[in-house]
Each structure stands twice: as structure tokens, then as C-alpha cells.
């Protein structure tokens, strides 16, 4: 953009308008080539030798020369294409269900563990669609007063308005969600636990920070930090409805949606993330969809419990 603008500044004479048009065409062609490089995901080892020659200090030297001010300048130490030192990555432990209250000590504790997708109606009129492999705990003696549950796994919450004036609280190891009246999803099964809000407002808090999110926003806990994002996908509730819709979606988005829908971790290597995919599925198995990718796009895959690896998806 800035290059285009600056070039427009350089050439102002009408005879040379043509030149800039040509240049722009070429520039767009370049941009397409860049896109192609991304789409084909070809190796970029041709960049191995490419270097940064510290333009900033070079400009100082040149500027001093064109102003005929010939101050000698020291040669600056080159900044090479340095790869930042590896920082430690905190892997979040998932599914570590910590008993918030021991049921022997606290009377009235109800614990639910779900083997399959199910729906739960709570005494205050809230309802929860809970995915398999999730667990939920609350104290039925004081629930209507406290509205406090401990939850791990994945569930979609439709929380009733408070009669007691207490906000609904949901806790797990990573964070606490305080519901300010709304519909939303909590998922602690993924590598980066997340909360996705469909309606209303919730507050998500970790030990260190607190964030309010509203409709079509989500937060993930990445390396212990709260990261807020806009929700882009039309397939957010696909795991509830069973229906997946890909309208020329790029592969990275498709894979993200598949992960969300089947609640698996997918590692995708040598995949043309910029390619698009168009398909609709209703209650299909992950294997069925991956078989289709295998037949039409040459992918290979392996499913191992929650861990899925896919490789070599090409555009055609």
C-alpha cells in the first residue's frame, strides 16, 4: 500500500501514468505469486540466505551524504534474521478435575459425569447441553441461593435470569466464568480452554486477570493468559446440531471447525491452509469427512483417540 502510494508520488507526469499502471499490474501479479507461494506451501528455503541490511542506519549515512554533510559514520552491527530463543511454553493441563469440595465434607453435593451428550436442567431454570466426557458438580442444598457450579469438559449454557440476585458462577482449574445473563459455551477439553458467548455477557477470570465478553466474542486461555477473539465461524454450535457447513472455507478454518465439532486435537502438516473447501455434513463421522478429504485432496490421516493427524492436503 505504502509502496503504491509513494510510487504514485514519484510519477506525476501524465506520460508516465502508463508506467505506473504497468507497475501496479506487476505488483498485483507479485501479490498473486506471494499468495501462490502460500497456497502451494512450497518450501521457502530460498529465503535462507536473505538478510536484513539495516536500512535505518544506511539511510542515515546516505542522508548525510546527499546533504553534503560528510560526517563519518560507524558501521553498524548487522541485524541478522535472528530466530528468537525458544521461550518455554506452558502446556495447560486439561481435564484435571479438581474436587472443589469433598462430597463427604459438604452435604448435598451432586456430581455428574457424562458418557454421552446430554441435557441437564438446573433447579433455577437454567439448562445445560453437556458433551460426553464432561463432569459437573453443584451443591443442591444451597444451589438456588448460590448458583455456583464446578465444571470441566464442554457444555453450552443457557442461564436463567437470577431470582436471588446472585450471578451464576462456573469454576474450573483455569478460570471462573461469572454469568451476567446469557447463552454461551465453555470448553476445557481443548488445549486452550475457551468460552464462547452467543448471547448476553459473561465475565471470565483467571487468578491474574478478568475480562468481560459479549455476543460473538470468545476467550481462550493461552499459556495462562486470557486472549479475546471475535467468533467468525458459522459452525460454532455444530457439535450441538450435528450439522457442519463449509461455504468455501479455507482449510485452516475447516480444520478448526472439525476440531471444535468433534472435540479433537488436529495436527495438520503439509496442508495447503489457503485452499478452500465446500461441503455440508449432517451427523457424519470425522472419519467419513477425512475419507472424503483423502479421496478428493489426497490427504492422509490417522485418528488416535482425541489426537488426529492429517497431512498432505492439496488444493485439487
Amino acid at each position: 500500500m505504502s509502496i503504491v502510494k509513494s510510487l504514485k508520488n514519484i510519477i506525476n507526469n501524465s506520460d508516465e501514468e502508463q508506467k505506473i499502471d504497468m507497475w501496479l499490474k506487476e505488483y498485483n501479479a507479485n501479490s498473486e505469486v506471494l499468495n501462490d507461494i502460500l497456497v502451494q506451501e512450497s518450501d521457502m528455503d530460498f529465503l535462507k540466505d536473505y538478510q536484513d541490511f539495516s536500512p535505518a542506519s544506511a539511510w542515515n549515512k546516505i542522508e548525510s551524504q546527499i546533504l553534503e554533510d560528510k560526517k563519518p559514520q560507524a558501521r553498524e552491527i548487522p541485524m541478522l534474521f535472528k530466530i528468537a530463543a525458544a521461550g518455554a511454553v506452558l502446556l495447560l493441563s486439561i481435564f484435571a478435575i479438581k474436587p472443589y469440595l469433598s462430597s463427604e465434607l459438604a452435604g448435598g453435593m451432586e456430581t455428574y459425569a457424562y458418557e454421552s451428550k446430554d441435557m441437564l436442567n438446573l433447579p433455577d431454570g437454567s439448562s445445560i447441553i453437556i458433551d460426553k466426557g464432561s463432569s459437573l458438580e453443584y451443591n443442591k442444598l444451597n444451589f438456588t441461593d448460590e448458583r455456583h457450579i464446578a465444571f470441566d469438559g464442554r457444555a453450552y449454557f443457557d442461564i436463567a435470569k437470577s431470582k436471588s440476585g446472585k450471578n451464576f458462577m462456573i469454576e474450573n482449574d483455569e478460570f471462573t466464568v461469572e454469568i451476567l445473563g446469557t447463552e454461551f459455551e465453555i470448553n476445557t477439553i481443548t488445549e486452550n480452554p475457551e468460552v464462547i458467548v452467543s448471547e448476553g455477557k459473561v465475565r471470565v477470570s483467571t487468578d491474574n486477570e478478568s475480562v468481560i465478553i459479549t455476543a460473538n466474542e470468545s476467550v481462550s486461555i493461552i499459556d495462562g493468559k486470557i486472549v479475546k477473539e471475535l467468533v467468525e465461524s458459522a459452525n460454532n454450535k455444530s457439535w450441538i446440531t450435528g450439522q457442519l457447513d463449509f461455504e468455501n472455507q479455507t482449510m485452516d478454518k475447516v480444520i478448526e471447525d472439525l476440531e471444535h465439532h468433534y472435540n479433537v486435537n488436529i495436527v495438520a502438516e503439509s496442508v495447503d491452509f489457503s485452499c478452500t473447501w465446500r461441503a455440508t455434513y449432517e451427523n457424519d463421522s470425522l472419519q467419513g469427512i477425512l475419507d472424503e478429504l483423502k479421496e478428493t485432496r489426497g490427504a492422509s490421516y490417522a485418528i488416535n483417540g482425541n489426537e488426529v493427524s492429517i497431512s498432505n492436503i492439496s488444493c485439487q
Binding site: 500500500m1 505504502s2 509502496i3 509513494s6 510510487l7 508520488n9 514519484i10 507497475w23 506487476e26 498485483n28 507479485n30 501479490s31 505469486v33 506471494l34 499468495n35 507461494i37 502460500l38 506451501e41 518450501d43 521457502m44 528455503d45 530460498f46 529465503l47 535462507k48 540466505d49 536473505y50 538478510q51 536484513d52 541490511f53 536500512p55 544506511a58 539511510w59 549515512k61 546516505i62 551524504q65 546527499i66 558501521r75 548487522p78 534474521f81 530466530i83 528468537a84 525458544a86 521461550g87 518455554a88 511454553v89 502446556l91 488445549e191 486452550n192 479455507t250 485452516d252 480444520i255 478448526e256 486435537n265 488436529i266 495436527v267 495438520a268 502438516e269 491452509f273 489457503s274 493427524s309
Partner: protein
């Protein structure tokens, strides 16, 4: 040619780094490369009134850099400082057409990659530029293959967005 200082600066911004990388084909020493490219740019400014370009200024710049680099090699050989048997041919036509474009393309790609967030950049470079597999990266950086995958997807997303904006 008409050339204001702002215009000259934007030429510098666009071509300085690609010119240096191009010049490295002829000269090994980083300092030599910088001297040659800076000389060529300063000449462009000083002679701006005398230079009449048939083509885009980039061809002038790349050709001048090539010729200047060859001159330097020759003069060193004359002085006996080097004994290279082969000296590239000087050429005032357009010897570098395709190379000009591929170098500028590299610059854009390089620049875009450098604007990725650090972790994302590191992983992208290890995979795409250095050719490490996800598993090798995950061992090297002590992170899970899934994290590598996440960062790769992020990198592609960001690069794609960037190129669409550039369009």
C-alpha cells in the same frame, strides 16, 4: 528525472534491502555490499537531473549495482588483492530482469514473515525456510506438535491477511 527527497526516500525504502541481497551474489563482504549499494543510491540522487530513465528506476538501480560490484572486483584484481579467475561480464542492457522481480518478491515475503509475532515467526521459519518437520520443531522447542500446528495456522492466516491488504 524529477526527484524530490521524499520520493528518493521511498525508493530507498523499497529497494535498499533487495539491492543489498542482490549484490551479495557478487560480493561476499557485507561492508562492500553496503558501500556499493549506498554509492549507487547516492549517485542516483546526485545525478537525478542527468538521468533519463527508459524503464522503471528499479532496473537502473539493479543494473548499476551489478556493474559497480563488478568494477570493484576488477579493481581489486588489478591491485592483486584477489585472484579470482572468473569475473562476471559487465552489461549495460537489462541483465537482471527476472532477478530484479524475484529479489523484490523475496523482500516482500521476508518482510511479511518478519512482521509475524515472534513465536509464530520462529516456528514458521523453522518449518518453511529451514525445512524442519513438526516433530523436529516440537522437540527443538520443547512444545507439543499441536502448538506447532496452531502457530503454523496462525502464520498462514496472518500472511494471507497481509497479502490481501497489499492487493
Amino acid at each position: 528525472m524529477e526527484l524530490s527527497k521524499a520520493q528518493f526516500k521511498s525508493i530507498f525504502d523499497t529497494y535498499y534491502n533487495p539491492l543489498c541481497n542482490f549484490c551479495r551474489k557478487y560480493l561476499n563482504d557485507r561492508g562492500d555490499v553496503e558501500d556499493v549499494v549506498q554509492d549507487v543510491l547516492v549517485k542516483l540522487w546526485q545525478n537525478k537531473d542527468k538521468i533519463h530513465l527508459q524503464k522503471d528506476v528499479k532496473y537502473y538501480l539493479f543494473t548499476s549495482v551489478k556493474n559497480k560490484a563488478i568494477e570493484l572486483i576488477r579493481s581489486r584484481k588489478r591491485k592483486g588483492e584477489i585472484r579470482d579467475s572468473l569475473i562476471p561480464e559487465k552489461n549495460y542492457e537489462d541483465p537482471v530482469g527476472d532477478e530484479v522481480d524475484s529479489t523484490i518478491l523475496k523482500e516482500k515475503l521476508y518482510n511479511s514473515i518478519r512482521q509475524l509475532p515472534p513465536k509464530c515467526q520462529e516456528i514458521f521459519v523453522l518449518n518453511k525456510v529451514n525445512g524442519l518437520t513438526y516433530n523436529e520443531i516440537s522437540e527443538e522447542l520443547k512444545i507439543s506438535p499441536k502448538t506447532v500446528d496452531n502457530q503454523m495456522r496462525r502464520a498462514f492466516k496472518l500472511l494471507r491477511e497481509k497479502f490481501e491488504i497489499t492487493k
